[in-house]
C-alpha cells in the first residue's frame, strides 16, 4: 500500500509542480504573486475541451492551441492589468491579481456554466485509461505515464530555456537586477511578456492534464489548485524554478501520505504544516536564495 500512496503523491505533486512553476517564474521576474495563475490553469482546461467539442480538433492539436491561447491571455493580462502598476506599491499589483482572478473565474462561470464538466472521453486515446503495467502492487495507467512524460519534458525544456537561451539569460538577469538588466540593453517588457507566456502555457497544460486525469473541469477549480501551487512555490523557494518543482512534489507526497496514514480530515493541514516547518527551518524555502532583510 505504501508504494501505491507514494505513487499517488508523486502524480499529484508533479501536477502541483507544473502550476507552481508559473507562479515562481513570474515572481522571479517582477516579484508579483500572480494569483490569477490558477484561473489560467482553469481556462486552459476549458479552452481545450471547447476546441475539441466545438471545432472537432483532435486532442493533441487542441492542447497546443489551448497553450497558445493561454499564453496570449497571460501576456494580455500582464499588459492590461499589471504593467501599469510596475512602479506602484507592490500590494497594488497583488490586489489587481486578486481582482483578475475573481473576474476570470466569474466569466468562465458565465461562459461554461457553474457545474462541473467531464473531459471529452471520446477524444482521449484509449490506452490512457488502461493499466499499462504493474509495479509491485501499483497499477500504472497510460495517462499517468503520459503525465510523467509530459511534466518531465516540460521541466527539462524549461530548464534548458532558462539556462541555455538568450531570453532565459535575460530572465535571470532581470530577476537579479531589473535596472542593470535594462541598462544592458535587455528589452524588459518583452522578457516579462515571454515569462508570462511561458508560465501561462505550462499552467494550461497542467489544467488539461488534471482535467483528463480526474475527468472533471469546473470554473472554480483554479482556486484550490492555485493556492496549493502557490504554497508549493514558496516551499521550494519562491523565484527558483527547480525549487518549485521540488516544492510541488514534496507538498503532493506530504499531503497524500498524511491523508493515508495520519488523518484524512487534516489532509490539507499536513501539507501546510510541512510547508510551515520547512520555512521556519529554512527561511527562504528549500532551494531559494537567501534574500535577507530588504533594506
Amino acid at each position: 500500500m505504501f508504494e501505491q500512496q507514494l505513487f499517488n503523491g508523486l502524480t499529484l505533486g508533479l501536477i502541483y509542480a507544473l502550476i507552481a512553476v508559473g507562479y515562481t517564474m513570474v515572481y522571479g521576474v517582477i516579484e508579483l504573486i500572480n494569483f490569477a495563475h490558477g484561473e489560467i490553469y482553469m481556462l486552459g482546461a476549458f479552452l481545450c475541451i471547447t476546441f475539441i467539442q466545438a471545432l472537432g480538433i483532435p486532442l493533441f492539436p487542441a492542447i497546443a492551441l489551448s497553450m497558445a491561447c493561454c499564453a496570449a491571455i497571460g501576456v494580455f493580462i500582464d499588459r492590461i492589468a499589471y504593467k501599469p502598476l510596475r512602479k506602484a506599491p507592490r500590494l497594488a499589483a497583488l490586489i489587481t491579481a486578486i481582482g483578475v482572478s475573481i473576474f476570470l473565474q466569474n466569466i468562465a462561470m458565465i461562459i461554461w456554466g457553474s457545474r462541473p464538466v467531464p473531459f471529452v472521453r471520446a477524444a482521449v486515446p484509449k490506452v490512457f485509461g488502461e493499466t499499462v503495467f504493474t509495479l509491485g502492487s501499483v497499477n500504472v495507467s497510460g495517462l499517468q505515464l503520459f503525465i510523467y512524460a509530459v511534466t518531465t519534458a516540460m521541466m527539462v525544456g524549461l530548464t534548458l530555456i532558462i539556462n541555455k537561451t538568450k531570453v532565459g539569460t535575460a530572465m535571470r538577469a532581470l530577476a537579479q537586477n531589473p535596472v542593470s538588466a535594462a541598462l544592458m540593453g535587455i528589452n524588459v517588457d518583452r522578457v516579462i511578456s515571454f515569462t508570462f507566456a511561458l508560465g501561462s502555457s505550462l499552467g494550461a497544460v497542467a489544467g488539461i492534464l488534471v482535467g483528463m486525469y480526474y475527468n472533471t473541469i469546473s470554473a472554480t477549480m483554479g482556486y484550490n489548485a492555485g493556492v496549493k501551487a502557490f504554497a508549493a512555490a514558496v516551499l521550494g523557494g519562491i523565484g527558483s524554478v527547480p525549487g518549485a518543482m521540488l516544492g510541488g512534489v514534496v507538498l503532493g507526497v506530504a499531503e497524500t501520505l498524511g491523508a493515508g496514514y495520519v488523518s484524512s480530515q487534516y489532509r490539507d493541514g499536513l501539507g501546510y504544516a510541512v510547508m510551515i516547518a520547512v520555512i521556519l527551518l529554512r527561511p527562504s524555502g528549500l532551494l531559494g536564495k537567501s534574500v535577507g532583510q530588504k533594506a
Binding site: Q5, G113, S114, P118, N215, T216, T220, M221, G260, R267
Partner: protein, 386 residues
C-alpha cells in the same frame, strides 16, 4: 480634492442602497429565491433556479394567480452564512416578497433564519437537509416559519443502513464522507443505524469538498477490502470517487443519498458510475403523468436531465404559489397555510410525491432506491416499503 470626490462616490452608493428597496409595486406577486448563483456552490444554485423558473413560467402561462403574475426575485448568497444573513435582512425587510423558496445550503438557511422569524416570513427550503434546522424554525410564540420539502440527513442515513443490511444483506461497508454539514450529518446517522443492524464498518475516511484527488483515502479503504462503499456527499465529488475507486481496482457497489442524485454523476463518473445505489424522493418510471411531463419539459428547456434539486424546488415553488392563490399575498397567512399542511390527507401533491409537514416544518416523504445501470438511472430491483 480626491477624497471629496471619493466621498461623493460613497454617498452615491449609500443613496443607491437606501432607494434600492423602493422598487415600484407593480401588478405582480413576488417570491424570494435566495440561493448561490456565484462561487463554488453556484452549480447547485442553478438547479434550484431552474426548478423554480419552470414552475413560475407554468403558472404565469396559465394566467398567474388571481390575475396577477408571479415573479421570482433571485438573491445570490454564495452558500455563505455571512452573505445569507445580509440577504436575509434584505428579504425580511422587503414587504413585497411574500414568501421564500430557499436557502439551498443548511448553513446559509440557519444564518438567515433569525431574520425571517423576526419579520414573520415563511421560508421553504427545497434542499437544506441539516438536522439542526428543525430546532431553529420557531419564533417566540412557537409558530414555525421554516419548512422544507426535503428529507433530513438522519432519515436517509438510517434508510440506507437499513437497505444495505436488510434488503441487500451486506456485512462489511466502508464510509467515505464529505467534511461538511451534509456529509457528517448523513454519516453519523448511517453509522449509528449500521451498527444497530450489525454491519461492520471497516473504514471511515473524510474528504474536503471541491477537491479532486481522493486516491490516498481510497487506497486506504481498499486495503480494508469492504463489500460496499457508502459515499456521503454530493455528485461533483462522488462521481470522481467512483471513478478513482475503479481505477484503483476497487469495483464494489457504491451507495449514496440524494446528494449523488444528478445526471452529472453518470456523466462525470462514466462507466465507473455503474452499480451505484441511491435514495430518491421519486422514481421517474413510476411517477405520475405530471412528473413525466415535467421531466420532458425540463429536458427540452435546459438540455439536461432533471435532478432532485430542481424537482424539489419546482414543488417548493408550487406549494408557496398554491398557498398564495388560496390565502392571498399575505406573509402571515401563507405561513398559516403551509403549517396547516400537516397530515397525509391535506398533503400537497407534487411531482416528488405527497408532501406534508410535521410540527417542526420537516416533511415526511417515502423514499425509493434507484441505481445506475449501463449509464442510466433505473429503479433498484429491491425496494424497501415501510
Amino acid at each position: 480634492m480626491k477624497f471629496k470626490h471619493g466621498l461623493v462616490v460613497a454617498l452615491a452608493m449609500a443613496a443607491f442602497l437606501a432607494v434600492g428597496n423602493l422598487v415600484l409595486a407593480a401588478d405582480v406577486i413576488k417570491i424570494a429565491v435566495p440561493t448561490p448563483l456565484t462561487g463554488p456552490a453556484a452549480g447547485y444554485g442553478d438547479n434550484v433556479k431552474a426548478g423554480v423558473a419552470m414552475k413560475i413560467e407554468e403558472i404565469n402561462a396559465k394566467g398567474g394567480v388571481n390575475g396577477k403574475k408571479i415573479e421570482a426575485v433571485y438573491f445570490d448568497e454564495q452558500c455563505d452564512p455571512k452573505e445569507a444573513a445580509t440577504v436575509g435582512t434584505k428579504i425580511a425587510g422587503d414587504k413585497d416578497l411574500v414568501a421564500i423558496v430557499g436557502h439551498l445550503c443548511s448553513g446559509a438557511h440557519l444564518a438567515a433564519l433569525p431574520n425571517y422569524l423576526r419579520a414573520g416570513v415563511a421560508a421553504l427550503s427545497p434542499t437544506a437537509t441539516n438536522v439542526n434546522i428543525s430546532e431553529k424554525g420557531k419564533d417566540a410564540k412557537g409558530q414555525t416559519w421554516s419548512f422544507r420539502n426535503v428529507y433530513r440527513d438522519d432519515f436517509q442515513g438510517v434508510f440506507l443502513a437499513d437497505y444495505m443490511a436488510k434488503a441487500l444483506g451486506l456485512k462489511k461497508v466502508a464510509v467515505f464522507f464529505a467534511n461538511s454539514d451534509y456529509g457528517i450529518g448523513l454519516k453519523d446517522a448511517f453509522l449509528k443505524q449500521a451498527k444497530a443492524n450489525g454491519l461492520t464498518i471497516v473504514g471511515e475516511e473524510a474528504y474536503q469538498e471541491k477537491s479532486t484527488d481522493f486516491t490516498p483515502q481510497l487506497t486506504k479503504i481498499k486495503g480494508m477490502a469492504p463489500e460496499a462503499l457508502f459515499i456521503a456527499g454530493y455528485y461533483a465529488e462522488g462521481s470522481l470517487i467512483a471513478d478513482q475507486a475503479k481505477k484503483l481496482g476497487m469495483d464494489v457497489p457504491k451507495f449514496g443519498a440524494d446528494g449523488l442524485d444528478n445526471a452529472d454523476y453518470i456523466k462525470l463518473a462514466g462507466p465507473a458510475g455503474d452499480n451505484t445505489y441511491l435514495t430518491t424522493p421519486f422514481l421517474a418510471e413510476t411517477a405520475g403523468p405530471e412528473a413525466k411531463a415535467f421531466i420532458d419539459a425540463y429536458k427540452a428547456k435546459f438540455k439536461r436531465d432533471v435532478d432532485w434539486m430542481s424537482a424539489n424546488a419546482y414543488d417548493a415553488a408550487g406549494m408557496v404559489i398554491e398557498a398564495i392563490s388560496k390565502v392571498g399575498p399575505d406573509r402571515a397567512k401563507v405561513r398559516e397555510y403551509l403549517a396547516a399542511i400537516n397530515t397525509k390527507d391535506k398533503a400537497y401533491k407534487g411531482i416528488t410525491g405527497l408532501t406534508y409537514f410535521n410540527d417542526k416544518g420537516d416533511c415526511e416523504k417515502p423514499a425509493y432506491v434507484k441505481m445506475v445501470k449501463g449509464g442510466q438511472f433505473v429503479p433498484a430491483e429491491k425496494q424497501m416499503t415501510k
